[in-house]
Each structure stands twice: as structure tokens, then as C-alpha cells.
Symmetry: D2
Subunit: 327 residues, 4 copies
């Protein structure tokens, strides 16, 4: 029994999801695709049924589960529609353009009483992050004290605003830090470097761990993500993201990928496979709607503080029982 998946959005991420469903996943297939641009949809999903209307795709009997990769502002609406029909969703981050709308998704799912929504925080399926989390869980580096993150993009596109370094880039560190640590954030502070340059962000968790992050959307040299978890007995960090090294023209080197897709190509595939497998097993995987909501809350609070430079305290509503799970 192969799961019939419909993909909403045929942009960069939607096309990548469609490709993964067509080429790399066991137990599922691309059944339908929707985009405002029919040609783009056809290119991304040859042979899949085309829908001009996302709601029609969600409601179609030909679609058993939905991937949402449309513009951010539509995420909550389409996710809610799928929840109403009881169809599983893999939704690209963010869960909603604003935290309040994200809370609406959480409440709808909590009211339903079973998890249908997986947020596309693909880093949770990256092998390096996985090894780091297991080191925390098995205690091999002692009690966790610090987490250092680095998030660098080669160059921000022209339409990138300052706040987007938080809402678009840093959200990945918010999610992965919570997941690596198994802790909730309680405070945060931003230190912007001069020259419109990178942000240094320091967060504190409920357990008193410190999370430092460089968010650098104009790093100049390539896409580069790094993390190091510091325990009371030792640390674990990502190895250099290289499969081969060249000795050439006076130097030894390896190339960074131009953007996040090659860096996390395997994580995207594993994420989709885990989503498909969880649906088949009647369980859930990956980041939940609650995780998506919390990330949006923190990012929103930081955006508000970006100019003020003050410490931000983070307050959350009670976590619904549906999302109570072991770290």
C-alpha cells in the first residue's frame, strides 16, 4: 500500500519534496501537486494530478496525506484544512506567519486528540545532529552546560530584511537547540555586530544551559552550519562536512555547498521517509505543531527586541498533554 501524497507549492522546496516523493521514498508516491503556475507544477510533478486550488487538493480522495510548501502566510490555513479532514501533514516551517495563528493550529490538533502535523525541521533527521543528541541522552559527555551554534549563508537575497535572519534562519537553531538539549528556552539576548553584520544570540534554558548562536546571513564564503554541545566531561561537535579533500594550487581544501539543500539532502529524504513510515505505523515523527509554535513565539519575541537590545523573557502557554513526550 503506497501512500498517495499531494504537494502544495512547486517552488524550490515544493519541487524538492516532489522529487523526493517520486525518487527516494519507499511506501509513498507523488499523487498530486498544486501551484499557481501550472507549468512549474508540471515540471515538479510529471504524471501527478494537477490542482489549481490547494483546498481541492487537500480534499481530494486521490490524496491521503499533504506536504505544504507554499508561502509562509498560507501554512496555518492549509494545515487546519487537513486537520479538519483528518489527513496527515508535513508542513514546511514556519507553522504560521505569526505565533497567534500557530497556536490556533496547536489548539485544533490538541482538540482532535491525535497528532497529524509534522513540521519540516529537517535538521532533526541529520545524522550529525542525531549523534549529538544521543551523546546528551546517553550521558557520554556528562551534564550539558553549553551549546554553540553557527549558521552561515553565503549571501542573503536582496529581499532579505534584518528580521528575516531571525524568522527565516535562526528558527532552525531555536528548534534544533530545544531538540538537542531536551530543554525549553526561557530568555534570549541579541548582540548585533556592526556593519549590518551577523547577529550573536545568547539564550538560556530552563535548566540553566547557555546557547550561543552566530546567525550570519552574509558570511561570504558558502553555506555552513556547525554545532558543538559542551558537557561537564567533554564535548561533541560536527565534523567538517566533506567527503573528499583536494590538494591543488598550493592548498588542501574542500568546498562548502552553496545553500542548505545539498547540506541537508539526506536529512530531507530521511525526514520524508520517517513521515511516511509514521503514518503507516499510526505514530508520529519529527517536530510537532507545538515545536513549530514555540519556535515562532521565540522568533517573534526576538524580532521585537532586535533594535532595543534588551534581554527577552520567553513565556509560553501550558503545553497540551498531546505534546508531552520524553526528551
Amino acid at each position: 500500500m503506497s501512500l498517495a501524497v499531494g504537494v502544495i507549492g512547486a517552488g524550490v522546496m515544493g519541487a524538492e519534496h516532489a522529487r523526493i516523493l517520486r525518487e527516494n521514498v519507499s511506501g509513498a508516491h507523488l499523487a498530486a501537486i498544486c501551484d499557481a503556475d501550472p507549468a512549474r507544477a508540471a515540471a515538479a510533478g510529471p504524471g501527478a494530478r494537477f490542482f489549481a486550488d490547494p483546498h481541492a487538493l487537500i480534499a481530494s480522495d486521490a490524496v491521503a496525506a499533504v506536504v505544504i510548501a507554499s508561502p509562509d502566510a498560507t501554512h496555518a490555513e492549509f494545515t487546519l484544512a487537513a486537520i479538519r479532514l483528518g489527513k496527515p501533514v508535513l508542513c514546511e516551517k514556519p507553522i504560521a506567519a505569526e505565533a497567534a495563528a500557530g497556536l490556533g493550529v496547536v489548539e485544533a490538533e490538541a482538540a482532535l486528540g491525535r497528532r497529524l502535523v509534522q513540521l519540516g525541521f529537517m535538521r532533526r533527521f541529520d545524522a550529525a545532529y542525531g549523534e549529538m543528541r544521543r551523546a546528551r541522552q546517553d550521558g557520554s559527555i556528562g551534564a550539558i552546560r553549553l551549546l554553540h551554534n553557527i549558521h552561515r549563508n553565503r549571501a542573503a537575497p536582496g529581499w532579505f530584511t534584518g528580521a528575516m535572519a531571525l524568522t527565516n534562519s535562526f528558527v532552525h537553531e531555536i528548534d534544533i537547540s530545544r531538540w538537542l538539549l531536551g530543554s525549553e528556552m526561557v530568555a534570549a539576548q541579541i548582540f548585533p555586530a556592526a556593519g549590518g553584520g551577523p547577529l550573536m544570540i545568547v539564550m538560556r534554558t530552563e535548566k540553566g544551559e547557555i546557547v550561543s548562536t552566530e546567525v550570519n546571513v552574509n558570511a561570504g564564503y558558502g553555506y555552513h552550519v556547525h554545532a558543538e554541545l559542551v558537557g561537564s566531561q567533554g564535548t561533541i561537535e560536527m565534523a567538517a562536512p566533506a567527503r573528499t579533500l583536494c590538494n591543488l594550487a598550493g592548498a588542501r581544501s574542500f568546498a562548502f555547498p552553496p545553500d542548505w539543500i545539498p547540506r541537508f539532502a539526506q536529512a530531507y529524504r530521511t525526514q520524508t521517509q520517517a513521515w511516511v513510515d509514521a503514518i503507516a505505523a499510526g505514530t508520529s515523527a519529527g517536530a510537532s505543531a507545538w515545536d513549530g509554535y514555540v519556535t515562532t513565539v521565540i522568533a517573534e519575541r526576538l524580532v521585537a527586541a532586535l533594535d532595543a537590545g534588551q534581554t527577552v523573557e520567553i513565556a509560553l502557554p501550558p503545553r497540551p498533554a498531546l505534546y508531552a513526550e520524553a526528551a
Copy 2:
């Protein structure tokens, strides 16, 4: 349309093939499994149809393509049976226990006039080897002069004989060296280290490239494969096979895998997907029957020379037109 695959053999490799077909491949599924031990077959292929007789599996209408992971001595026989029925085969190395039998497979396939056989030299699907081969093809390190290989196993099992370092381990370097270089080997010489220790093997290609290989089945510390391609302008080599590094107990370290399966886990998946995709497209992928035959010829010649210490000249019959392909 999902390809129905039957797997012959439910040992370590057969079970891994069955798992990949059940969990990781798009466009195919595990339809049948055969093993002398029904319980082992059932464990490897839950839900798949069980065959006690490999020939019955090959002949079954429920099986459209066959993976052969049974003992080496049976490979040629089962492959020939599949060829007779026109069914595609993914056969674990070696193609046959002896080169003469391997030539029989080549001739049968050549007589048929289309490629049905893919040999399971999974390293061709490893990303690091792929980057090295592209460096040769695109000329980025100049004209190729040397290739250095290292092949280390933690410890050889008790039943491992000296010759098996050649027929079981070194065969991977024979195949991957031919593929990396796009050259045929013409001579080889073995230098055994004292203490029943590792072998140093030097081969020369038709183009005058030199291939040096350490084959070390009792390396002591773990499974470790390395290669460096040396060109006239630079070199390309494998990076350290680590996703994370630990700073702990006085040292920075990463762990080697205990054996080849974790090291080449992704290569195995990519190999099977490529096989399935090629069948769907009516093309072929990976190592051919001819590649499997040549590897067996070279290994056989080296075994004969293991004690003599002489230079071995390698002579091959003409390459059938079916296998004439671009490097």
C-alpha cells in the same frame, strides 16, 4: 508500478538487501525471499513469499527481478538461470567462484545482447569515490599518475585464509581502481609484510598508472577504507569518515565502524535504487558482468602468485561489444 524483487539468501548481505527493498527504495518492493533456513528468511523478509528452491524463486511469476546474495559458489548458476528467463539480476560479488565460470556468465549475457546483470560492487555508488572519479573525468587534478588504496578490516574471522584477503577484500580495490581510473590493469605484484600481516599490492594499468594498495584484514582498530588519486596537478582523497568529533578523556576522536555495512550503508541504498531505476528505464547501471569477470581474473592470478612473489601479467579475452562503454 512497483518492481517485484526476489532475494536469494538471507545471511548478512541478503538480509540487508531485503531490508533496503522493504524500507528504502522507491519503485520496488520485496516480493519473495529464499534461504535454506526458513526462519532466517522469515526474519529478513516478513510478508514476502518464501521459496525453499532458488530456481523456483527465479522462475516465479511473482518475481520480476532477482538479488543474489547466496554463497559465492552459487552466483554463476543463479545468474545464468535469470539470464535465461530474461530477468534482471543484482548479484553480490563475486560473479563466480572461478573466473572460468564468470566468463560463462559474460558469454551468456553477450549472446543475449542486452545487459541484465549488475554486480554488487557498491563502492561505485559511494559519494566519496564518486567525487574522486569526477575529478579524474573533469581533469581538475590533471593527468592521473597514481592511485593509493587502503583497505583495513578490524580482524579477520577465524575461517579467513590468506588467499581470501585477495578474493574477498582486495577485489573491491580491483573493481574501484578500474572504475576510478577508467583503465585496465596489466600487471600486479604482491609484497606480503611479515607476521602474516598485511599485503602491499602494486598494479600497473594499460596507461602506465600505478595503483598501490594495502590490504590489511587484521588492522586491529576498525573498518577503514581510504583512497587518494594523484594527478599531475594535484590530488583528491577521502576525508575522514566522521560526522561528529568528540573531545573526551584527554583526546579528540571519532569512531570507525566495526565493519563495511555502516561505512557503505548509503552506497548500498543508492546501488539498489540505481538498479531499480535502470530496470524501469531499460538501461543498466553499476558494475557489469564483464567487470565482475575481470576482477575475478585478476584476483585468481594474484592468488596463484601469492607465494611465488613474482610479477603477475594480466591477460584478458577481448571485451565483448556489449560492454564497450565510455570510461
Copy 3:
């Protein structure tokens, strides 16, 4: 003409200075040594003249220049004594136990009008830091935005207090950050991790660069110093401090040194040679009295804020003309 050097203090650092002067330096020799414990002095300086009284050593005609490696509280007093006699000094950090006393040294030297004092911030002579500073100076990574420091000790001795992580360890990052950046610090903030654990310290320079530092005196695994300078076009960071790698017992690893002396052994030698060469040439090298004073000011301000958790503003008196130099 060999420079006759007297060393005050024969503890760990004094003995190391004495050894360097006896064994590794061109153009100087160990002429005299002083310590409260004559046996310890004799062990550190075989053949050197012994002084029980540091002031007698400083004043002796047999001593042309002085290395001060006695307890911190005596540094300013002995340095001032040497300045009065016009004798060059290499003084271990800190310049004084309190900033006010450090300012006294600065003023005495400034009144004299020529530099006699070099502070023992040996990291300025470390090759890796040197390469990083040159990358800033030659613009090869663009305009500098951030500096990340990590300073880890295996385990703090029992007598180590919380404030000493600042006054004893972090002072090295204060000095090297100023030197790497060619900037003065204007503000700082401390984030202590829970569990009496490491400190995360964020500083801001006059140019708006951000300096993040982990000071971790109980890192558990060894002595480890790391730094990365982030520019608008790229970054430069320290390579792993290893000369060899071992593949053993399932892992690839290299050992961290147990403390700072092996890590900076070459820097200590280069520092002393630079001091001797500068005296011969009538110039000066390394960190000045002013540098030593500024470092002490910043550390003192941070200690005062350690519990409060507030942002610390850093105010300095005008820099005397004697210390006006190119970055």
C-alpha cells in the same frame, strides 16, 4: 654580547623561564635566580647566582634584565623597581593584583618615556594567532565582524575561585582579542551556565565587533584553546592542535595537552627570544604595560559584575603617547 637575565620566582612559570633562558635562547643567559626556597631556585637555575632578596637581584650588577614570575601581588612592586633602575622587564601576567597598581606601573614607565616592560601574554607569539592577526591586517577575510574564543582547562585546582576564571584564565582572551582585532573593548556581559559551570562572555569593541568567549575551567577532557575570526568575506580559525593522529582501539584520535605549557611551549620560547632581541635592538616587543593595565581593568570590572549579571561598560583613562602604536 649575551644578555644577563635574572629570574624572580622558581615556581612552575619561573622554572620554565629559567629553562628557556638556559637552553633555548640566542643572545641571553640565565645569570641569577631568586626564590623563597633556595632548593627550588637551585633546581631551576643550576649554576646561576642565587638571590634570597628579589630587590637585590634587580639591583645587582650581574643582572641586566629581569623576568618576573613571582606571585601576582608582587608584580607591580618588582616591575617598578626595575623601571627605576632602567632595566628591561619581562613580567608574567597580571601586571598587578589590582588595576590601580597597574596604572602606577604605566605612569612610571610613561614618565620615563621609554618602554622597559613586556607583559608575558605569550599567545601573541603563537603561530596560529599570528596567522589570524595577519589575516585581519591584510584584509583577506574582509572587514572583521566577530571573534569566537574557547578557553578550556581540564580541571580547576581546588583553590580556584569563581572570579579566577576571569582574572586567571579569561585575561588571556582579553589580551589576545584586543591584539587580534586591533580594537579596544567597550562593553561586556557574562552568562554563567548552571552547575557552577562555564562562563559565556560577550564583549563589544569600539568598532562594533562582537567577541564571544567560553571560559571553561572544568572542561573535563584537557587543555584546549580555540579561536575563530569572522570577517565579511570569510573566516580564519585555529586548526586542530595535533602533529600526529592515531587509529587505535576503534577510533581515530589525538591527545590534548594536560595544561597550557605544552600547548604554548613554542610561543614561550619565541616570546623570550623576541624580548631579548628587542632589548639588543633598543626596541620593544609583545604586550606593553598599557596592555597589561587594560586587561586588568576589564577583568576587574567583570568580577564586580559576575553576580549581578548586568552589562559592564568599560572606561579607560587616556592612552599615554608612549603606547600609541599601529594595530
Copy 4:
């Protein structure tokens, strides 16, 4: 008491020796220099006494020990002159242009009955090689089975002949392999790669260890030396020769040095200091005249076999008792 050293030859290596003696060595100074070109001598040894005649320098009362860095063909003659006068010598490799002349030096020194000659095989003082040798001596990687060497130069100068890859480059691997292993070589075989390219050389020691070496004088990309010692339980190899890494222009990289002098700068200094210290202590250090002779014998035998491609057996005269030493 500072040792008065005279340097013969003010070319690249002579000037470097003179500089080290002037700037980096404790207990010695550059007293005299000799070169056919007085201007070159003056530039290399400002303030040192100039000699036009090497024999006059050797005989001068102003010279207590001699560094020989003149053309290869003169090494034996000047070394013998120093031996006759009982003056210690640090002689650049080779000991003589031909093995027969090298044996003359060995016999003269053996007749004298004490070691006066140190050969300038500076790699023995390189920290990485030192760590590798200690790993062999302390048994930490088990019994030694193999040694892999790589010796790459960016580009051979125009006057470089094929045989010089052996007599000029490979001699360093001959010496360091003997020193690392504590074994004598008994056989060797050369595999030249096509295109006038690199040589692959396989040697066998008296204990049955195998030594593989790539000698590549036109590697294209820079100066690069690597070695890995393979034991029955693990291996030890050189780490990447980098102090810093740059992330720039799409890649992470570090630069190789253009030639051997920066790579072995510290080894040259340590070598000279060890020579000076050994003279003061009445002992000896580094490679002996016997080591220099053996290296020349092996290189000479290989040159004779370069075209023939045969296995070379290595026969040595009995080792004089003067050179009997622990491995």
C-alpha cells in the same frame, strides 16, 4: 662558553644554517663563513669572519665546529678535514657524492674512535616523526608491519634529472624510514608511473616490514610530506600540517608551504640545538656518518636499477662498533 661555528657554503641551506646560528641557538654563535661569493657570504653572515678557502676555515683557531653546506661533491673532503683536526661537523646530506667516498668518512671516524660527524637529516628532529617513532618504541600500535611515505615537491627545477628524485628527495625517506623502524633495508623495487611522473618505491626490511613511498617531484600543488606507520593493533600518521584553516571563497583550506624549509623550520632549529648541546655534553646526536653512508648506498643501488625495473638487493659492509646503538 659559546661554541664558535664556521659555516661552509652560503647558498640556500648555508644561509639558513648561518641564520639559525645567529638568531635561534643557545650556546653557539656564527664565528666564520666561507663561500666562493664574498657578497653572498657577507649577506648570510654579517659580522662573521669571512674565509675564501674552506680548508682555512676548518683549520682556523676561531672555529671550533663546522657546518658543511657546500656542493655535494665537496662534503666528504671537508668532513675528512674536520675529522683530522678533531672538530665536530654538521654536514648537510649527502655524506658524499658516491657511496665509496662515504665509506671513507665512516672508516676515518671509526678509526678515530669517537663520533664527530652529524648528518643533516633534519626530519629526525621533526616533532611529528618523533611522535611516530615513540609509538613504535613504546609498542602502542603493536608490532610494526608497514610504513607508507609520501614525498611531494611542487615542481622540480629545470636541472633536475630522473635519478635526482632518488639521490636528492628519496634519500630523506631512506633515512627516516630506517630511523622510524629501527630496521635496515634489505631490498627495494621501483615502479615509475607514466608521463615521467612520480615513482612508487617498495622496500623490505630485515624484519620483513614493507615500506612504500611515493616520490613525486612534480606534484604540482606544493611541498607535502606525509607518513603513516602501520602496526598490528593500529596506526599513527602525520596530521595535516596546518596551524589555521580559512573558510573563504566557497571552500575551507590551508596552504602548503612552497618548499621544505618552512615545513621543517622548527626541525632545523632543533637539529642545530641538539648538535650544539651534544658537543657541549661530549655526546652525539642525529644521523651518524654510518647513517649517511647507508642512505647513499641504497640510493646508488636504486639509481642503477631505475631503468631495469628489477628488485634491488641491498648489501652493506659490517657496521663498525662505533655505530652500534639502540634503535
